[in-house]
């Protein structure tokens, strides 16, 4: 199948620089195919930024990086009007910010102030930016791939629920396996040269795959399964304070479709739904005090909910 071959090619190319992160790469690709945004969370030094950077290099897309800091202003992201003098005449000219790209890497997003974070909101959801009285459409495909780390919480601004809900997936980036880490050491301690990456995915191709993703048929009982999972997050008051929104249902179906396509299937399976439930739901659920006291995570809650659904 054409899709499978293409995605395998991407994996192969990615593995030139990123090792042992195939799951993460697959999930980022899922977010791209769903025309969604992804939030990568992991400890510093686990190659979150490198993964996104490499992927953006493989795709023939405009890429920009925003390093978030507490003093970063919204206009630093969206752009601003500057006075330009031409022929002795002064005019206001819009200077686009880094958001005007196809792939935006918002590094350490939780270090930016809520005001700056919210500047990303409109862009992520509406694919447009409003500066002053003017609204600018963003070039498609557009997606924000943000990173944050779970430690060093002092001086950070955790993403508000409304904003985290706009990320299709929250991808947990863990430490590599010892075997993989050995390969990483081998790769990065011997040669100083950076491997050359081929441009595999063009803008048109990504748009085409995004269209194909939505075409993947889903059986009714699997749709019902998604509804049951989402409904259970709202009703399980023993673990959760707040459940997932209808946006989560949409995103879970879409993510399952994209996973099926990446895995070379023309149909969604139960496994696709169950696997994608974790990255789709983990940032949308709020645990109650009792669950937090027990040291549970949202992943534990999702696991428990899935296990109860036949």
């Amino acid at each position: 199948m054409e899709y499978t071959a293409k995605f395998q090619e991407i994996m192969k190319e990615m593995n030139k620089t990123v090792i042992g992160m195939n799951d993460v790469i697959e999930q980022i690709l899922i977010a791209i195919l769903c025309d969604g945004n992804a939030l990568l969370e992991g400890y510093p030094g686990v190659a979150k930024t490198l993964t996104i950077k490499t992927l953006s290099q493989i795709m023939d897309l405009k890429y920009s990086r925003i390093q978030n800091t507490p003093d970063l202003m919204p206009s630093d992201i969206t752009g601003t009007y500057i006075i330009e003098e031409t022929g002795g005449k002064r005019n206001f000219k819009f200077q686009p910010g880094p958001i005007f790209s196809n792939v935006v890497l918002a590094d350490e997003i939780n270090r930016a102030t809520p005001k700056t974070q919210s500047a990303l909101l409109e862009a992520m959801q509406e694919k447009q930016v409003t500066v002053g009285n003017s609204t600018f459409k963003l070039e498609l495909p557009f997606f924000v791939l943000a990173t944050q780390n779970p430690i060093e919480q002092e001086g950070t601004y955790p993403l508000p629920e409304a904003q985290s809900d706009r990320f299709l997936l929250k991808i947990n980036v863990g430490y590599p396996e010892l075997e993989d880490e050995d390969k990483i050491i081998e790769m990065y301690t011997k040669e100083a040269s950076v491997p050359r990456l081929a441009k595999i995915l063009t803008k048109d191709k990504i748009t085409y795959y995004q269209k194909k993703t939505r075409e993947v048929p889903v059986a009714h009982d699997l749709k019902n399964r998604v509804l049951q999972i989402i409904d259970a997050t709202r009703k399980n008051k023993a673990l959760l304070q707040y459940g997932a929104s209808p946006r989560a249902s949409i995103n879970l179906i879409l993510a399952a479709k994209a996973r099926a396509l990446i895995r070379g299937r023309n149909h969604v399976t139960k496994e696709d739904i169950d696997t994608m439930a974790y990255p789709v739901l983990r940032h949308r659920l709020i645990l109650n005090f009792e669950a937090e006291r027990k040291g549970m995570t949202t992943d534990d809650a999702v696991k428990e909910i899935i296990s109860k659904i036949k």
Binding site: M1, T202, D204, K205, Y208, K212, E215, V216, P217, V218, A219, H220, D221, L222, L261, N266, H267, V268, T269, K270
Partner: protein, 275 residues
């Protein structure tokens, strides 16, 4: 890059595939239900026969099983049955069935995939030959038992009699007296004997005193007739002269007609004789 330029066919082949799956597996399910019903019928026929209940009630039980069982079996998701047997078809058939009107490239690819994989599906895999062989063997054994036990006219327990005993208990007739002392009754008194119905075909045990055991033997297969042992028929000669009048003589009521003045004399006479 070759993109979708022509109109995709979608699930074009699937409706035919679905129809074939439904009819093939459906007929197997009907056969299965018939076998089960026959087994139930044979088993109940035997049981009822041994309990002296009309064995045709077995047919009613069998029919009572057949109708809902067939309905439920025909309602089962046959596509799911195929998917369970053939893991490579997992969820594909249901996906196609639920999205049969969808027309796009992915649907078309899935349609082709199903058409290819359905060729590997063997109808015999749904037959359950071992299970059905056991069932059919069981039916045959039950049939033999029915025929054999019928010829012996075997009944383990007569439920009808038991039910009659339980439902209709023995009526108690307070007027019925057994062993009335006729001599103790005053002369000229009419003694009336009431019939005592016990419900037992052998009658009241006290009515048959004595120590002689009667050996009664009823030959259960006595209805069989050996023509060779039967002799020739003979003509019975009847009188062709019939009496002119045919009547029954009415029973005379006998009574003592000794005059009162002679009674003392007769009494004495018998006393003398008795000495």
């Amino acid at each position: 890059m070759k993109e979708q330029h022509t109109q995709s066919k979608g699930f074009e082949k699937f409706p035919e595939i679905k129809k074939e799956i439904k009819s093939s597996i459906g007929s197997l399910l009907v056969f299965d239900t018939i076998i089960d019903s026959l087994a139930i019928f044979a088993a109940f026929y035997l049981i009822f026969m041994l309990l002296a209940i009309s064995p045709l009630y077995g047919a009613a039980i069998s029919a009572a099983y057949f109708v809902p069982a067939l309905y439920l079996r025909l309602r089962t998701n046959k596509l799911l049955m195929v998917e369970k047997k053939y893991s490579e078809l997992d969820i594909k058939l249901r996906t196609a069935a639920d999205n049969v009107g969808l027309k796009n490239e992915v649907a078309e690819a899935l349609d082709n995939e199903i058409a290819q994989e359905i060729k590997n599906v063997e109808l015999s895999s749904f037959f359950g030959s071992r299970k059905n062989t056991i069932k059919i063997t069981g039916i045959i054994i039950l049939c033999f038992l029915i025929v054999f036990l019928s010829s012996l006219n075997t009944e383990f327990w007569d439920v009808k009699l038991f039910v009659e005993d339980v439902i209709k208990p023995k009526p108690v007739d307070n007027n019925a007296r057994i062993g009335v002392d006729v001599q103790a009754a005053p002369l000229g008194t009419e003694v009336v004997f009431s019939a005592v119905t016990s419900g037992d075909i052998y009658g009241e045990s006290s009515m048959a005193p004595g120590n002689v055991t009667q050996q009664l033997e009823v030959d259960p297969i006595g209805y069989e007739m050996n023509i060779r042992q039967e002799g020739d028929s003979y003509d019975e000669e009847f009188e062709d002269q019939f009496p002119k009048e045919v009547f029954a003589q009415s029973a005379e009521a006998h009574g003592e007609t000794i005059p009162i003045e002679k009674q003392e004399l007769v009494k004495r006479y018998f006393k003398e004789v008795a000495r």
